[in-house]
């Protein structure tokens, strides 16, 4: 069985057409793409907004849908519309219906899988004594943290996707899903061992990132047998090499040997990689262990406040040397009117040219001849965020330094203006929830679309 993976994040930047068409010409058995990530920050989930333009999402869905229907093979999209909320599933389903009508496609079955979880449902489970364990060093989920959460999604494993395919789905639009599971599902349903199926998913999830040289949004094809996965780059200038495929196992994960999915763990410790032709690498030696208890990952985001941003520059070398005192002055002036930062407001000074990118992790102590100061204020009400940001920025201009020569203003304002950013959110939930039944939190609907 072969699966075509055209993009690591559908809609984030449009799919490149050339390598996609070359992949389709190979006649894959499914066309599968992930469309979401928690990399984009907590705001899209918390506010339930896409972070990609619908134009690009439609572009990618159209390419995949037309090719999959022409080949008569399943199309699967996971984590619809960036965060995989119910809104995202509905939005993509509506795009699919519209495309089917516009292109006069013959009838096909569309399955939608919803995996958003209500806060009340999670609270109920907590009250019944369910332990919702924190990931990556987090404490177990507590009621107060849940209360700060605006929206949650459960990251589905293969089971709902297999179920949808069993019901005859030609096109599956799924809510938040584990990236590797959307690829593993058709392989598992076709009877391939879990280890090979999950490895197939692992290697395909980011499309051309598993190939070299570095290119995004190019297609790759993975082929699974009972004990091996081969992966081939479709772009004529890209190759899947032992090094590129092995390094991809490390990408975006703390440990290159293990991939945790709902229900188990893929063990890549004993993987063997071999180059079978110039653009293809074969991998063997993976194993899969099922967990004793089926657990599903929960992601949740909560709003912190409205966000205001302003930008100032500093060129005076004496002021730059004393930038901490300047920021201290501005913070103090805000503090006089608003008290200490905390629940009422948060105030950040990003000092580009010193440590704006790395903050306290920055080991380099030299500072440039000019500094860019980005002032970020967050408060529950926009009006408050705006004036706190203005106060914290204008006081860079009025900072009092004992030996300053430039007594007409200690900062350059690119404009005396406060910009409104999207509200600030926080990842409040990064936890795992035990389930009795892998399907219990999701809803699967099917409908016939077209003609």
């Amino acid at each position: 069985m072969s699966i075509l993976s055209p993009t690591g994040h559908l809609g984030f930047t449009p799919i490149e057409r050339g390598s996609f068409d070359l992949g389709v010409a190979r006649g894959p058995d499914a066309i599968v793409a992930d469309s979401g990530s928690c990399d984009i920050g907590p705001q899209p989930l918390g506010a339930d907004e896409p972070c990609s333009p619908e134009d690009w999402q439609r572009h990618d869905l159209e390419l995949m849908l037309l090719a999959a229907r022409r080949l008569g093979v399943p199309m699967i999209v996971g984590s619809a519309s960036d965060s995989g909320t119910d809104r995202g599933v509905n939005q993509y389903a509506e795009i699919i219906r519209g495309l089917a009508q516009r292109h006069g496609l013959a009838p096909f079955t569309l399955a939608t899988i919803y995996s958003e979880v209500g806060r009340d449902e999670v609270a109920r489970r907590l009250r019944h004594g369910t332990r919702i364990a924190g990931l990556d060093g987090r404490a177990d989920l507590a009621p107060d943290v849940l209360a700060r959460t605006d929206r949650l999604v459960a990251v589905m494993g293969v089971e709902p996707l297999v179920h949808a395919l069993d019901q005859g789905a030609d096109v599956v639009i799924a809510g938040r899903s584990s990236d590797s599971c959307i690829f593993a599902a058709p392989a598992i349903r076709a009877g391939f061992p879990e280890a090979a199926a999950y490895y197939l998913g692992k290697v395909l999830e980011c499309a051309s990132f598993a190939a070299e040289p570095f290119m995004g949004k190019e297609s790759i094809i993975g082929t699974v047998t009972r004990d091996a996965v081969t992966v081939t780059a479709m772009h004529p200038g890209q190759r899947c090499t032992v090094a590129s495929v092995a390094s991809h196992a490390m990408y975006e994960r703390a440990n290159p040997f293990f991939e945790h999915v709902a229900g188990g763990v893929l063990d890549m410790t004993d993987c063997r990689y071999e180059q079978v032709d110039e653009r293809t690498t074969r991998v063997t030696g993976f194993t899969f262990r099922r967990d004793a208890i089926y657990r599903i990952k929960l992601e949740g985001a909560g709003k912190v406040g409205e966000r205001a941003v302003a930008i100032a520059g500093i060129r005076d070398p004496y002021t730059i040397r004393n930038i901490d005192a300047v920021v201290g002055w501005a913070r103090a002036k805000v503090g006089e009117r608003w008290g200490e930062p905390g629940a009422r407001y948060q105030l950040y000074y990003h000092l580009y040219g010193r440590d704006g990118v790395m903050g306290p992790w920055e080991p380099e102590r030299t500072v440039g001849h000019e500094l860019c100061v980005v002032v970020e204020a967050v408060a529950p009400r926009w009006e408050d965020a705006e004036i706190i940001c203005a106060l914290g920025t204008r006081n860079l201009f009025y900072a009092r330094l004992p030996e300053v020569k430039g007594t007409a203003g200690t900062a350059a304002l690119m404009m005396d203006e406060v910009l409104r950013g999207k509200p600030g959110y926080e990842w409040t939930v990064n936890h795992v929830l035990p389930l009795a039944d892998p399907l219990e939190l999701c809803t699967i609907k099917t409908e016939v679309v077209g003609a």
Partner: protein, 108 residues
């Protein structure tokens, strides 16, 4: 003592989110000799990372020598989840630069 900077020995040096609470760093080598040399030299260890980034040792949640790539990989727990107010690097993609200048003794 003859030395080379890590950036001269590695093919790829990168950082990226590993989930919302961690940033993971990959130092990938184009040849096994450079990889073995850096491993042997002790120029890149969890203690070195802890000092370079001025973080307590326990914030480094993984440090792995990964032969198949070959690569050295480590992971740091963030101060707060990615994308929170005050964020400096939502994707964690620009945290690797200080590794370039680590000096690797060639005669180790």
């Amino acid at each position: 003592m003859r030395t080379k900077r890590l950036v001269e020995l590695a093919k790829t040096i990168r950082s990226k989110n590993a989930g919302v609470d961690q940033i993971t760093f990959d130092v990938i080598f184009g040849d096994r000799e450079s990889y073995e040399l850096v491993k042997r030299s002790g120029a890149l260890t969890a203690d070195v990372v802890s000092q370079l980034y001025a973080i307590p040792r326990e914030r480094i949640t993984a440090f792995v020598e990964y032969d198949p790539a070959p690569a050295i990989k480590f992971t740091i727990r963030r101060d707060r989840p990615s994308g929170s107010p005050g964020e400096r690097d939502v994707f964690g993609a620009q945290q690797y630069a200080p590794l370039f200048d680590l000096l690797v003794p060639l005669d180790a």
